[in-house]
């Protein structure tokens, strides 16, 4: 068995497949099908494409007209509804319209998988009145969702499946690859990772966790044998005004950035659940650590002071210690920040 790597770009992010196979031909055939499936989902659910299913829904939403959706979209909406209900309304796919008043530029230093930021602009804080006006068009509870029919109680709403589809695509690519006989390897779509199975020699994959304050650096590593790993953080885009940092994760309740955590990573059987849990953990703000601990999935959080917590924190800390000792021969050996010095 040999390891083959296939870097590509999709969903506005750098992506990669790492697959173990007997021959390059086998790996390439499987990789091409997986990449085609990712492109297919991107074409269906991108809000940047006028011909996407999502744009069709948003066109209806802008007019406030009802629309019937296909089974896959219906399952995505069901999933979004579950997230909304289970997060007490924090995870809300209608919150995207808040971008109309908030413009977060990419951090110049960030080389992360940020989506193309069409709304990039000069940093300024929105007028609270503007935010309040937009909030009138935010809220899953303003939708009437009865499979397969979606109705909007106010015009001008907008759905954004960006927080779901990339993770879903990673899982689907993983399932597809497994069906094609690739049982060892991983799918990485802009940091949302689905591990098919360990390295050929049985070693788990070593996945680096990005430092939220220094996006070019890694905090350490998490070892993953199988399943999904996803992270959410405010490092991708933010505003810094008057020495104060405003992260791009906006609360659908207030319309303002949530405070409390800088980044969350979650390990779950699927990348989709890992991603949603990480997002909800971030949205919970200061109560995120409690919520994550109660959820029962292995996780890691970093607070604005750079302190680590969660049951994977020990794992990361051990790797940090080993890195310091210089005995870790991983291919992703990072510059070494320590948790306490970062703050």
């Amino acid at each position: 068995m040999r390891l083959f790597r296939f870097p590509f770009r999709a969903m506005g992010s750098p992506c990669e497949l790492q697959l173990y196979a007997e021959t390059r031909h086998q790996a390439k055939g499987a990789a091409q099908r997986a990449m085609a499936d990712v492109s297919l989902l991107e074409a269906r659910y991108s809000r940047y494409r006028a011909d996407s299913v999502l744009s069709g829904i948003n066109a209806a939403a802008a007019r406030g007209e009802p629309i019937e959706v296909d089974a896959e979209t219906a399952a995505l909406l069901d999933y979004a509804q579950t997230c909304y209900e289970r997060s007490d309304g924090l995870f809300d796919i209608t919150a995207g319209v808040l971008r109309q008043v908030w413009s977060f530029g990419s951090r110049p230093a960030a080389e992360s998988g940020a989506e193309p930021t069409s709304e990039r602009g000069p940093g300024r804080l929105p007028d609270p009145a503007e935010v309040a006006a937009v909030l009138g068009r935010v809220g899953w509870d303003k939708l009437r969702w009865q499979r397969p029919r979606l109705e909007f109680s106010v015009p001008g709403m907008e759905l954004d499946l960006g927080g779901i589809v990339k993770e879903y695509a990673a899982d689907r690519a993983g399932t597809l690859l497994r069906d094609l006989g690739i049982t060892q390897g991983l799918v990485n779509l802009g940091g949302d990772i689905r591990v098919l199975g360990p390295h050929a020699d049985g070693r788990p994959w070593t996945v680096g966790i990005r430092d939220p304050r220094r996006p070019a650096c890694l905090l350490g590593h998490v070892r993953v044998r199988e399943g999904g790993l996803a992270s959410s953080g405010d490092y991708e885009r933010c505003l810094e005004i008057g020495g104060r940092r405003y992260g791009h994760i906006l609360s659908p309740r207030t319309g303002w950035p949530v405070e409390g955590l800088a980044a969350v990573s979650v390990l779950a059987p699927t990348c989709l659940v890992a991603g949603s849990a990480a997002t909800i953990g971030m949205l919970q703000g200061a109560s995120g650590p409690d919520w994550l601990a109660g959820l029962g999935l292995p996780h890691l959080w970093v607070d604005p002071q750079g302190c680590l917590g969660g049951d994977l924190a020990g794992d990361v800390a051990r790797h940090l210690a080993r890195n310091l000792a210089g005995d870790l021969a991983d291919d992703l050996a990072p510059p070494i920040p320590t948790a306490h010095s970062a703050g």
């Binding site: 089974a71 069906d179 029962g296």
Partner: protein, 437 residues
């Protein structure tokens, strides 16, 4: 490592396992999240599956009640074992042969009197079965009478039998290969069968293609109740080669070719033929060898937009008895939500008669092969099937079904003058359950 936040409090933790379960189940409901083409792997849990069946051909004909129970269990990492037991209670009466209605010179119609039995022995008709009255002592061939219709003679003594069958199958999984070994017996008062099977399945081409090879051997003994002391032996060898190809994540095609060779006593000891020349019914007789080919083509398509699946099957079979048959079957499997699933199926079957089939015989053929068994005649049939199943919990599924089968000579593709006296219809009801541990 120091914790910057206070220690976890239990207050928010109670509802969280439910949150994980809700997110996980909503995630797994998305298309493509779970495998469409799971690799052949041993069973991972114990499964018990059972069913009750009731088959009814209508008043005065055959009824069968069946109880079935099956258990599947993993053994170690590479094996699984399936045990299956069936109990049938069969009762009723079946057709034995046909007699013609004759119109004779002078306009008299002779209706052979099939109820005026001379003697009856045995439970299921027999060699001394009811004879029609002679045609005034004159052989038909000299009487100038013409047949104007055909009537079926049903066994006057209903039979009642029990069948018990058990079989076991072991599968061994090794990488992309699976080897299966099966053994079984079936026992009833007048029939005993022992069988053995061996099959190999090989996944190729990144599991997109599955090649199957199969072999089975059945050794049967017939001990007719109407012929004490006689034992008929029959061996059947069957070979299968098949290919299943996954076309894309929503469809597959399958082609199977089967050849079966049966040798020995292939006659039905309870069937007779009516011979006009002698005005008598005598036991049927079939060749002692039969080679039978069967070609199956299958297309399965999952329709995600409708949350449904379409199955389309076509079978063509032919044998050296001259019997050819076409079967076209389609079923629609619709997921209804909340664990409910409905299956609607329609099947069309058309068969051309065996070379040695006649409704009745003027004279006995010289080659010594003759039958009037309606199952070897030309006929067509339509079957309609409805099944409802409900996944009650993650572990328990129950289902109920009904099937109507309508056999009509007039439905055959081939034109024929075979009698429609043998037409009948039947209803089958079934109730099933499956429990996984």
């Amino acid at each position: 490592m120091k914790q910057p936040f206070p220690r976890r409090t239990a207050s928010r933790c109670r509802a969280q396992p439910k949150t994980l379960a809700a997110l996980t189940s909503a995630a797994l409901a998305l298309p493509g999240m779970t495998s469409q083409a799971p690799a052949a792997t041993p069973a991972t849990q114990v499964e018990l599956e059972g069913g009750l069946f009731y088959y009814d051909e209508g008043p005065d004909r055959v009824r069968v009640a069946t109880v079935q129970q099956q258990a599947l269990t993993p053994v170690g990492d590479d094996f699984d074992v399936k045990l299956n037991a069936v109990y049938d209670a069969i009762s009723g009466a079946s057709p034995i042969y046909n007699v013609p209605t004759l119109e004779c010179p002078g306009g008299t119609v002779i209706q052979p009197n099939t109820s005026g039995t001379d003697t009856v022995s045995g439970a299921s008709g027999g060699t001394s079965s009811p004879l029609p009255r002679p045609l005034g002592g004159i052989p038909y061939t000299q009487s100038g009478c013409q047949p104007i219709g055909v009537q079926q003679v049903i066994s006057p003594t209903p039979f009642d039998d029990r069948r018990v069958a058990v079989d076991a199958k072991v599968n061994y999984y090794r990488g992309d290969s699976t080897i299966g070994l099966g053994l079984g017996i079936s026992d009833e008062r007048d029939y005993r069968s022992n069988f053995f099977s061996l099959d190999l399945r090989q996944e190729l081409n990144q599991k997109q293609t599955t090649l199957a090879l199969g072999f089975s051997l059945a050794d049967d003994k017939v001990m007719p109740v109407n012929d004490p002391g006689f034992i008929g032996d029959k061996q059947t060898l069957q070979y299968l080669v098949g290919v299943t190809q996954i076309l894309d994540k929503a469809s597959l095609v399958q082609v199977n070719l089967t050849y079966a060779n049966a040798a020995g006593y292939l006659t039905d000891p309870y069937k007779e033929v009516f011979v006009l020349e002698s005005n008598s019914a005598i036991p049927e007789q079939r060749p002692d060898q039969r080679g039978q080919w069967n070609l199956l083509g299958r297309y399965v398509r999952f329709l995600p937009a409708l949350d449904a699946a379409l199955h389309l099957d076509y079978r063509y079979s032919w044998d050296d008895w001259g019997v050819t048959a076409n079967t076209l079957e389609t079923s629609w499997i619709q997921t209804l939500g909340q664990g409910w699933q409905a299956t609607l199926g329609v099947r069309y079957y058309s068969q051309g008669e065996a070379d040695f089939y006649r409704d009745y015989f003027d004279t006995l053929p010289a080659n010594g092969a003759y039958t009037s068994d309606y199952r070897l005649a030309t006929f067509g049939a339509l079957g309609y099937r409805l099944r409802l199943s409900k996944q009650v919990t993650d572990a328990v599924r129950i289902d109920a079904g009904i099937e109507y089968y309508d056999r009509r000579v007039g439905l055959a593709l081939n034109s024929t003058d075979n009698t429609d006296a043998a037409d009948y219809d039947s209803l089958t009801f079934n109730l099933g359950w499956k429990v996984s541990f």
